[in-house]
């Protein structure tokens, strides 16, 4: 179907490009100067952006479809303006076999939603002991390797993985946390959580592990990607490594950019996440690092669980916050609107930044470019209403927050996968 999006302001990672009448046909941007189309959308006052790529989402398939399915997860992503989602491999069983990766990709391709990309386990069973079949996994479609959710206590295995992945042209993504320092911690270790009686997970569990892993990278070469950085000292280490020319990239999550450990005063496991919500100084450092490009990408770490699981007690409730559907409006409102964070930089962190991590080129709104697009409304203010989420996780730490910048239309390869225009 052809589509004409009239009068929207065009933004991409390089900035604003004025208004245009964007004609979409045959899955591509056909023209910026209008033309005949089967459907015409009046988009004056709205922003048209390249669709987002999420490097880090847990779609729980196979094995934990009670938490999320490919259908609900990829539709939730589309509703959030994402055109591509990298699915984490910590499923049941973990995605550590080539046929499992190709199988889940085949299944995902049938969903009308965001396009699925697969991350595969770096080690068998994500146990951190023996490398998985990295070459075969790459051939099956894995865009990166990670034992996300687990930590690499055996540095030798991670080093071998970095070397092998480098030869395959894939990054290794790590959940950088020292398991010993983290212990049974369920919350950022600070004066507040000590008063609250919550077992602490110190900032140094992350920064010490980032420091170690950067030393490994220096030794092995290759491309190391840090998932969900949460601390000031960790981003400082990454900045330093980047200055030295290391091939290192990093992501931050919407929750670490907008929430702090103060939210734990309610003792509500809704805010229980790994790595934990940190202090205001950390949040500021993450925002600054995102602005400066020390952090390459916003990644959701969308981690849905059932309502009942999140209503267990704070020690037993699982870690995780879902955010696919609100990541962009949340950051548009909290960073761009409230703090003057450059919109082009936010767009970059959700498009070209994460694309580069998995070796994909930048996206520009020019004729011939794939029509992976999102139209957002920068003005309509609407509260977060988790009951309307496509995701199975119908709760949110941001429930009730009044946000701007909601996606109203998402196109994947020119096909409408989300439409709130009515």
């Amino acid at each position: 179907m052809s589509l004409l999006i009239k009068g929207a302001r065009l933004w991409d990672a390089s900035g604003e490009h004025g208004t245009a009448d964007v004609l979409v046909a045959d899955g591509r941007i056909a023209s910026l100067e209008g033309g005949e189309a089967e459907r015409v959308i009046e988009a004056r006052g709205r922003y048209l952006l390249p669709g987002f790529l999420d490097l880090h989402a847990h779609l729980r398939t196979p094995g934990e479809e009670q938490k999320e399915s490919l259908e609900t997860g990829l539709r939730a992503a589309a509703a959030g303006g994402f055109v591509e989602v990298v699915m984490m491999p910590n499923t049941r069983p973990p995605l550590d076999l080539p046929e499992a990766v190709s199988g889940v990709l085949r299944q995902a391709a049938r969903v009308r939603g965001a396009r699925a990309r697969a991350a595969a386990a770096l080690t068998k069973g994500q146990e951190g002991k023996e490398l998985a079949e990295l070459r075969l996994l790459a051939e099956a479609g894995a865009v990166l390797f990670t034992d996300d959710g687990r930590t690499h206590e055996d540095a030798g295995v991670l080093a071998a993985g970095l070397r092998y992945a480098a030869a395959l042209g894939r990054p290794v993504a790590v959940h950088a946390e020292d398991a010993g320092l983290r212990g049974d911690g369920v919350a950022h270790e600070c004066a507040l959580t000590e008063a609250l009686g919550l077992p602490g997970n110190p900032a140094e569990a992350e920064s010490a592990r980032v420091a170690r892993d950067l030393e490994l990278l220096r030794m092995t070469g290759g491309h190391l990607h840090f998932q969900h950085l949460s601390t000031k000292s960790a981003v400082r280490l990454v900045a330093e490594a980047k200055r030295r020319g290391r091939r290192v990239t990093a992501e931050v999550t919407p929750h670490h950019l907008t929430l702090t450990v103060d939210a734990l005063k309610t003792l509500d496991p809704l805010f229980k996440v790994a790595p934990p919500l940190r202090e205001e100084a950390d949040r500021e450092a993450l925002i600054e690092a995102l602005a400066e490009g020390v952090v390459d990408a916003v990644a959701t770490d969308h981690a849905p669980h059932t309502q009942a699981e999140k209503e267990a007690d704070f020690l037993r409730a699982p870690f995780g916050i879902p955010s696919l559907e609100i990541a962009f409006p949340l950051l548009f409102t909290e960073l761009v609107e409230k703090r003057g964070f450059p919109l082009a930089r936010l767009v970059a962190a959700m498009t070209d930044g994460p694309r580069a991590v998995i070796g994909e080129g930048p996206r520009r709104l020019v004729p011939g470019a794939p029509a992976d697009l999102v139209l957002v409304d920068p003005r309509e203010r609407r509260p977060v209403d988790p009951s309307r989420f496509f995701s199975k996780a119908k709760y949110s730490p941001w429930a009730g927050w009044e946000l701007l910048g909601w996606p109203v239309l998402t196109l994947v390869g020119g096909e409408v996968v989300f439409d709130r225009l009515g």
Partner: protein
């Protein structure tokens, strides 16, 4: 007050009003017939997701002495994990028309969660490392009986501070009452980020005991301290056991408190536990009166 979860937002006047009621309850307990019908027709549920015989008995007796009906539920949180959830359990009990929930759990915040799910009053009977407010109330009540006003008094709390809800609740409450609280213990068992509720934290037992008006000793149980943070009871005794000699650093006559159950000759030298400075049995007696006062305030305060 609507619930008793912890002492955030509490003021001294509320504590004093509660103590006044507790004194009246003590009079009731001194009578041959130790019961008044104040809460007749009300139902109190003790819901324990962590075993505790003493606290449960104290609460159940307190409720019965006020004429309330008592139902009790107990299960390990771990056994709840598979089937029925915490919330299901609580909502089921609530459907019976329970007026007050007395909740004990091994995780911080469970009573707070319960208070969001039910209309009834919720009393925290100990949640993980977080709080044990009725223990702190009975401790402060007992201290007030022994010392008078607590304003400016130095109270040393000694033991495994990091994992102790008793230390947290006492620091919180005694702070509200104007006392100077010192928390002392072996460094691995102390708060790591500066401590809580304005209390001083010290690994130096002598400094903490010096001139103290009272000493509160916490239970040390090697098996229950996670992470290999305590090598042995002998190692603990060598540095932190409260002995006659160490107690001489405190003010003469300074009383010794212990929340029980005691590990005799570990955290506290045996003879001290039974000696004239020990307030251990007074604490138990006062515990019942204080819990009666809490139930009375919560259940009748609401009706009014």
């Amino acid at each position: 007050m609507r619930h008793l979860l912890d002492f955030s937002g509490w003021e001294r006047a509320e504590v004093e009003a509660l103590f006044q009621t507790a004194r009246a309850m003590k009079e009731v307990l001194a009578r041959p017939i130790k019961q008044v019908p104040a809460l007749k027709g009300r139902t109190v549920a003790t819901v324990f997701f962590e075993p505790s015989t003493r606290t449960r008995i104290s609460f159940e007796l307190a409720a019965k002495r006020l004429g309330a009906d008592v139902v009790s539920f107990s299960a390990q949180s771990s056994s709840l994990k598979k089937g029925e959830s915490l919330k299901d359990t609580v909502l089921t009990l609530a459907a019976y028309g329970v007026d007050a929930f007395v909740v004990r759990a091994d995780a911080a915040g469970v009573p707070h969660q319960v208070s969001r799910w039910v209309e009834a009053a919720v009393i925290n009977a100990g949640d993980g490392w977080r709080a044990h407010p009725t223990q702190a109330l009975l401790d402060a009540f007992t201290l007030t009986e022994a010392l008078g006003e607590l304003e400016g008094k130095k109270i040393a709390i000694v033991g495994d501070i990091l994992h102790s809800r008793v230390a947290r609740s006492n620091a919180e409450l005694l702070g509200i009452l104007g006392a100077r609280v010192w928390l002392a213990g072996p460094p691995p068992l102390l708060p790591r980020r500066g401590g809580f509720f304005g209390a001083r934290v010290s690994a130096d037992l002598e400094e903490a005991l010096s001139d103290a008006d009272a000493v509160m000793v916490l239970r040390i149980q090697k098996e229950r301290i996670p992470g290999g943070l305590l090598a042995s009871e002998a190692d603990y005794r060598a540095g932190y056991q409260i002995t006659e000699e160490r107690l001489s650093l405190a003010k003469p006559e300074a009383p010794v408190l212990h929340p029980g159950p005691m590990n005799r000759d570990v955290e506290l030298e045996g003879p001290l536990a039974d000696g004239p400075r020990s307030l251990v049995l007074a604490q138990v007696e006062n515990g019942q009166a204080v819990r009666m006062a809490v139930l009375y305030h919560l259940l009748l305060g609401r009706a009014a």
